[in-house]
Symmetry: C2
Subunit: 92 residues, 2 copies
């Protein structure tokens, strides 16, 4: 998957990320990956659910992956959970 | 799956839920479902990752599902995202 087709979810309002996902599909993407770490994981799930239920026709969740990443902080390395939700355009 | 094999993740410290999951496997469960809604979704992912990476030998993520549930609040009905992570004992 092209890097362009990834939306990283952070601390902004969820509709910002929904708009980013919808825009990528409207620009012709077949798949969009929604990624987040830590507390933003809930918002990534919200993003996927809102995009599919309210804005995107014929797009479904293809794959959901979770993992653990090690990140550097001021006080040393720490583990943080991550999620990747891949949305895919179904056959038209 | 038996209802007993489900751990509902809420606002308590994550290790409470990790302990609940590990206990169920130690009591002979083949599968344990970790469920959460809203902001607790991130903690559900943490629970699964910590349980698998630090405590459970031979247990893997079998399935991850997300969805949208309608709940009643003081101000009316609202949608909330949900997650279900199913952990499964691999063949021993």
């Amino acid at each position: 998957m092209l890097k362009d087709n990834t939306v990283f979810v952070g601390n902004k309002p969820v509709m910002n990320y929904v708009l980013a996902v919808v825009t990528q599909f409207n620009n012709g993407a077949d798949e969009v990956a929604i990624k987040a770490r830590g507390k933003a994981i809930s918002r990534a799930v919200d993003t996927a659910e809102i995009a599919i239920n309210r804005f995107l026709e014929g797009v479904a969740k293809k794959e959901i992956l979770t993992g653990t990443e090690m990140i550097d902080t001021d006080t040393g390395k720490t583990n943080v959970s991550s999620i990747e939700i891949v949305l895919s355009q179904q056959l038209r």
